[in-house]
Amino acid sequence: MRLLAGALAATLLVGCPSWTPQDLEPYPNPFGEGDAGWAPQPDRENPLEAVASIDGARAWVSLQGSPDVPGRFVAEVDLETGELVRKIEVGSGATGLALHPGGRHLVVFNRFSNYASVIDTTTGRTSRPIPADYYGIEGVFTPDGSELWVTNRWRDAVQVWTVTTAGARLEVSERLEPGIPVGTNPRDIAISADGATVAVAALTEGSVSLLDVATRQERARVDLGAPANGLAFVGDWLVVATTSRSTHHQALAGPDTDGDGVPGDGTPNINFQDLQNELAVIDVAAGVEAARYTSDTICCKDYRDVDPDDGERLGDMLPPEETWIVGGALPEQVLADGTSVWVSYSGSNQVQRFEVDPDDGTLTARLVHEAAGHSPHGLAVTDDRLLVVHRLGETLGVRSSSTGELQAVVEVGDLSGGPFPATDAEIGELFNFVTSSFTVDGDQTCHHCHREGGNLNKAFSMPLSQAVGVGLRQTMDYRGAADTRPWFFEAAMDESNFVPVMNEFARIENFCCSDYTLFPSGAPTGCSANPPPECTSEPNPYSVDGSAPTRDHGAEHASDRPTAHASRDGFYTAQMETLIGRSESFGDGLYFEDPISDERLPIPLDFDGITRALGLFLLQDTHLLPNPWDPDREAAQRGRALFEGHDTACAACHPAPTFSTAALMGPVVTPFRADDGTNLDLLAGGFLDLFPRAEMDRCEDVCDPDACAADASVCDDLLHVQMGVTSLRGIWDRADSFLHHGRARGLTEVLATPGHPALGPGEVGFNERDGIPDTHGGTSHLSASELEDLATYLRTL
């Protein structure tokens, strides 16, 4: 009834009988009350973006909430008093804010509503909403205020609205929709000072589009090879927050993932050590990347880090040392402030300023400031203040824009359930987004590769592979985690034991008390608390030459030991104590039922405990973005009939409601193979030992035992790994690279058999295994339009 009343009111207001305001509904979660570990969670509002009034006296903060519990307010803050003035109700999932140059009209993009809200800043009231597509994310006005350019995540486009203002109203008189196509999942947007160029960052695709405002055409698309986060113009330059191009492969072996025509990803580090925090500087006029800056800790913290002086390990392929200036983890937002930019680091609770040379775009790093709350995201600036939104902390930090000094912290979200984190699932959420404290070099977070819970448009090499640094595994979103237990393509792990992923953040080889070669008869008692002298005097035997060569502070490129802790569990519990003031779980979701005392006890937040906390966070909500596609469209209905039919048999392996099963099955598409036929999907033997649920052929299963005894790898071209069934829920929002190896580009390539008429020029049909078609469902008999119907249905799931 409430929705109906709202719909009637809005119809009258807007005067358009065909339009009624609607909100998308969150997905149901199979994980709920009654499941082990489930616990009620406090209300949160997850503040995201901020904008300041023209006179700098007030600010507004969008309260986005989450996909499962969307926020629907904007907080207004009096910057003079440092107090929350009011919360203004807007649409569902309030995300981006765009203040009209006149200063009176604040447009709020509600990602789960089919309208944008307009706030009259003089009264704090909303005026007539603007009908819009779902998933408007961010927007910028042209300097003259005549146009509003809006990124749309659903349409993968930028929409242009011509606007007029009259009193409290802001009207759209003309629209360019569905808009100018850009990369997958556009989010951040900025406009040059002269109003000639709009820049759009595609979060999932990892590209930046430069759009010509006059012609409304894409002028250039710059491929970053990594998520494109926030961006800002400074003169002739565009500064973009991103991460490294690397794919964790070997530098010069395996697939050519950097597109330079030779194997490998072109970076000497592998696995998670290849993951860096970067700022790209784009030459706006030329439409090309002019410079790239990387982590200040790219070397030499982890025992595997490649040293720039180590030619044998390709140290000369590291970026020049003068570019090692990015001081925090996961550059999230970039804000122009005169001839400098501020950068928020959501993964390490920091902000940093960089000076931008107007002549050549060179960046010069300034001090890194610790944020006053968890996971800083949105930034805004006035004449003398810098505003930093703490997304998980539920607060707004007010700092001096000249010194960075903290002046005030304003509660803008919801702390009624206690400071964040207040539950064990929230501890997991904190770790997911602010992981860097728990990494040896402070560089990585879970969120680097699972941006906003989604995935990236690239496949990585993963440490579970038998073919180290040359295999491929497509990044997975972590949405719908309860749909697909056990997890990952190999379906071998669950929420309590996905340790090989966690392990990459802080390998035990970095920690002295774990050093089997140093203490062959056992480390001394109390080693962790009181490390013996060997822990600083002896070299780390697990490190090859040039990489963290000793544990001594004085070694070149190793100004600090990996951590001040001698054991990983000691490191983790101490870091959590520092971050949240506790070193054990709350016990609401994570506990241990002692078999002797029958007591239910909190668990330590060590490596095991934090792994389980993260697992709980992944299950607690679906994290699935509500689906904007209409399942009642005729094409979707036709596709559904095909999906559920016996001919395609799609539903046999992807049954509703989760569109997944827990079953393992042989590969349904051709494995990713080396040129010699070796199956590069194969799992490391040690992985199979640690995870007996994983299933892979043994050599003896497919070859002569004597031959296997002579050479265990003799039949690696014939072995296969069993795979789990990936859920299809939320597939509409995923990157365009699909299947376990990420080589299928788009749903058509996934569904089509080789040579299928639905394929366009250059497209490949991946529905085959070793030349046999229809191994991933029967589709060869479908027409091109039927295949599109099937894809249309999939997008509605």
Binding site: I508, P520, D594
Partner: protein, 179 residues
């Protein structure tokens, strides 16, 4: 809708009519069990009561450390059970582990569990624990059956290598060491 509002709906949803309400759970019944090791030449080797049985720690993939044990129950064993394990290693704080969905031998007489992987540690490696006595206490719960069994072993490690992504890295006394 805030979470608190959603939670308010839960009791309503949980209401059921007399005819479709599930009946009360049956009482939990005990069953007997003993702990053993899984050795290469034997399916199940019971752990001696005097604490002299050596249990080899497996220092495996990426340095994770665990001990494989097995549970032999009586004829009343459940087919699937969850295990809550407490490990008391001499000189260390007790460790707690949860191991879900352990299957008792479907092909045999239904009394022997599959291998139960008890992760000791994710941090220190075996060095700290070599030669120390450790008591494993496992509470096994499933299908309204429950038991607790305990045994003490001596932790040993005969494998001087750490298993990284590449070749094993072994101690200085091993000529094959990759440094």
């Amino acid at each position: 809708m805030p979470r608190s509002s959603l939670l308010a709906l839960v009791p309503v949803v949980l209401l059921c009519t007399a005819s479709d309400c599930p009946g009360p759970n049956p009482p939990v019944t005990p069953f007997e069990c003993e702990l053993g090791l899984v050795l290469e030449d034997s399916d199940f080797s019971p752990i001696a009561a005097d604490g002299t049985t050596s249990a080899e720690m497996i220092f495996g993939f990426q340095g994770f450390l665990w001990v494989d044990v097995a549970i032999r129950g009586d004829e009343d064993s459940p087919s699937v059970a969850d295990v809550a394990a407490r490990i008391d290693i001499d000189g260390f704080e007790p460790l707690g582990r949860s191991i879900p969905a352990i299957v008792f031998d479907e092909a045999g007489d239904g009394t022997l569990s599959e291998t139960v992987q008890v992760r000791l540690d994710n941090s220190e490696g075996p060095a700290l624990y070599i030669g120390r006595p450790a008591t494993f206490t496992l509470k096994v719960t499933g299908e309204f059956k429950e038991t607790t069994c305990a045994a003490t072993v001596l932790l040993v490690d005969d494998d001087p290598c750490i298993y990284t992504d590449d070749e094993p890295i072994c101690g200085d006394d091993d000529d094959s060491a990759e440094q």
